[in-house]
């Protein structure tokens, strides 16, 4: 499943340069996590990736995903209250499931849901840990069954750790605030981004994936905060500008 050799090294250095760039400037967590899931998909040859964070009620919430289908996989687990991502969060340990069909005994409700409306066959879940406390999980999804090599899992965990570092060093923490509030803000920003996707999807007759891609590329091309652009799409007429801006599509997103 993995790519080897210099192709990946190039991708890797590009990813770390990109992330380091993000961490220096003013940034919001959702933007960082969105970049991370994008890099994870590229580097680990995954078909999709998603990140879930714990909220103030200690419930998991989906905050970033490379594809709407990854959202669905994570929501199915939250509804069933079982599955690899949920278990990874509870145990604070990686959970690898090369083929979900074989896991029907372990998570019957979730696997049944996957069989009826899931898009992926294998899941690798990596914990986001902070001082011994679980704050979420990063999940890698593949359409075909298979095991990820150890080296890929280690790289995946490194990316998950970058997410944790990013959450810790975001500006609010520098103001002396704590992680609970950070996550709160991130979750609210996620709501704003979803609303903005809806605005763009309807006005531009786009799929949600394509709408998010437009939003993301518009924000990045202007070095603007994703959540701020999203807010303006919802509250002002910025959608017109976003939809009129043509930028080369990023390859990680399909243009259904």
């Amino acid at each position: 499943m993995s790519q080897v050799g210099s192709g990946r090294e190039q991708l890797l250095s590009r990813a770390f340069v990109g992330l380091a760039d993000t961490l220096v400037d003013d940034y919001d967590i959702i933007d960082l996590l969105d970049r991370l899931v994008g890099y994870s998909v590229e580097l680990l040859a995954a078909d999709a990736a998603g990140i879930m964070l714990v909220d103030s009620r200690r419930s998991l919430q989906v905050v970033a995903s490379s594809h709407e289908d990854a959202d669905v996989m994570e929501l199915m687990q939250l509804e069933a209250d079982q599955g690899p991502c949920v278990e990874c969060f509870r145990t604070q340990a990686p959970v690898s499931v090369p083929d979900l069909i074989d896991a029907a005994g372990r998570w019957p409700v979730f696997v049944a849901a996957v069989e009826s409306r899931g898009a992926y066959r294998s899941v690798h879940a990596l914990p986001l840990r902070l001082r011994g406390e679980a704050i979420g999980a990063m999940n890698l999804f593949h359409r075909q069954p298979g095991t990820l090599p150890e080296a890929d899992l280690a790289l995946g965990q490194a990316l998950a750790d970058v997410a944790t570092i990013g959450i810790l060093s975001e500006r609010a923490v520098r103001r002396g605030e704590v992680v609970t509030e950070q996550l709160q803000t991130a979750l609210n920003n996620r709501v704003i981004i979803e609303q903005a996707k809806g605005v763009l999807a309807h006005r531009g007759n786009l799929s949600m994936n394509a709408a998010f891609d437009r939003l993301r590329r518009y924000a990045r091309s202007r070095n603007a905060l994703l959540s701020e652009v999203a807010r303006q799409v919802v509250e002002t007429d910025l959608a017109t500008d976003v939809l009129a801006t043509r930028v080369a599509p990023s390859k990680a997103v399909d243009q259904r």
Binding site: R57, R58, L78, R90, E177, T185, N188, K197, G198, L200
Partner: protein, 242 residues
């Protein structure tokens, strides 16, 4: 396997809020009950809830005592303070010790006035919001300085989230008298549909949500199902609907 993802009994304050009667009258009565629950369940001496709107108008719905009311009045007359910062930034503003100038540097006049006119030692202002919708701020104070601990902070933030959904529930009530379900926060489709409907009708996010709730109520369907139909483009809202 340890615990459960939803282990997490919501804290005592959030529990108490869940138990609030669904037929709480209007905003004032709701604010009063929420403030009472917070003062009882959290390590604070007083609480107030103010609504803030985009037009910079404000209305204090309820304050648990004279000090809580003074804090609201001061910051609205001075135009600065923890509550206003929370409303503007959408972030919680926690000030465990008002005497420390590093914590009050963003609103020095307000901080000086509070110290001069009251015995408040710590302030916690939590925004009540739902995406782009700012409903107001839950303000709490304690005379003794000191932080809320991790569990108390989580409980306070849960309480603020729940309060936001309750006020939004009142504002978008189609007549069923139901609060909005807390789990709605995690439903991306409800937010995406809100964005689509606000374009379809040319209204605000709040009104878009209200129209979807009204439709769900009339059709006797779940809001999440209606949202799913909107996102899958099986349902498009028009002016003459509902």
């Amino acid at each position: 396997m340890v615990g459960s993802v939803r282990v997490a009994e919501p804290g005592s304050v959030a529990q108490a809020m869940l138990a609030l009667a669904r037929d709480v009258g209007g905003n004032h009565e709701l604010a009063e009950q929420i403030c009472r629950v917070c003062v009882l369940g959290l390590d604070v001496d007083g609480a107030a809830i103010s609504l803030l709107t985009a037009s910079a108008s404000r209305e204090t719905l309820w304050a648990s005592d004279a000090t809580a009311e003074l804090l609201e009045d001061l910051q609205f007359s001075l135009g600065e303070g923890a509550c206003i910062e929370a409303a503007l930034t959408g972030r919680p503003v926690l000030v465990p010790d008002l005497q420390l100038s590093t914590q009050t540097i963003r609103w020095p006049i307000f901080a000086a006035a509070v110290m001069e006119q009251s015995d408040v030692g710590a302030l916690f202002a939590l925004p009540l919001q739902w995406g782009t919708i700012n409903l107001g701020v839950l303000d709490m104070y304690r005379t003794a300085p000191g932080s809320l601990n991790g569990a108390q902070l989580r409980d306070a933030i849960s309480a603020a989230n729940m309060a936001a959904l309750m006020f939004l529930g009142v504002r978008t009530d189609p007549g069923d008298g139901q609060w909005l379900d807390h789990s709605l926060h995690g439903r991306a489709e409800v937010h995406q549909a809100t964005g689509m409907v606000l374009v379809q009708l040319g209204v605000s996010a709040t009104d878009a949500l209200a129209r979807m709730r009204a439709y769900a109520f009339v059709e006797q369907r779940l809001l999440s199902d209606v949202a799913h139909d909107v996102v899958s483009r099986r349902l498009c809202f028009t002016q003459d609907m509902v």
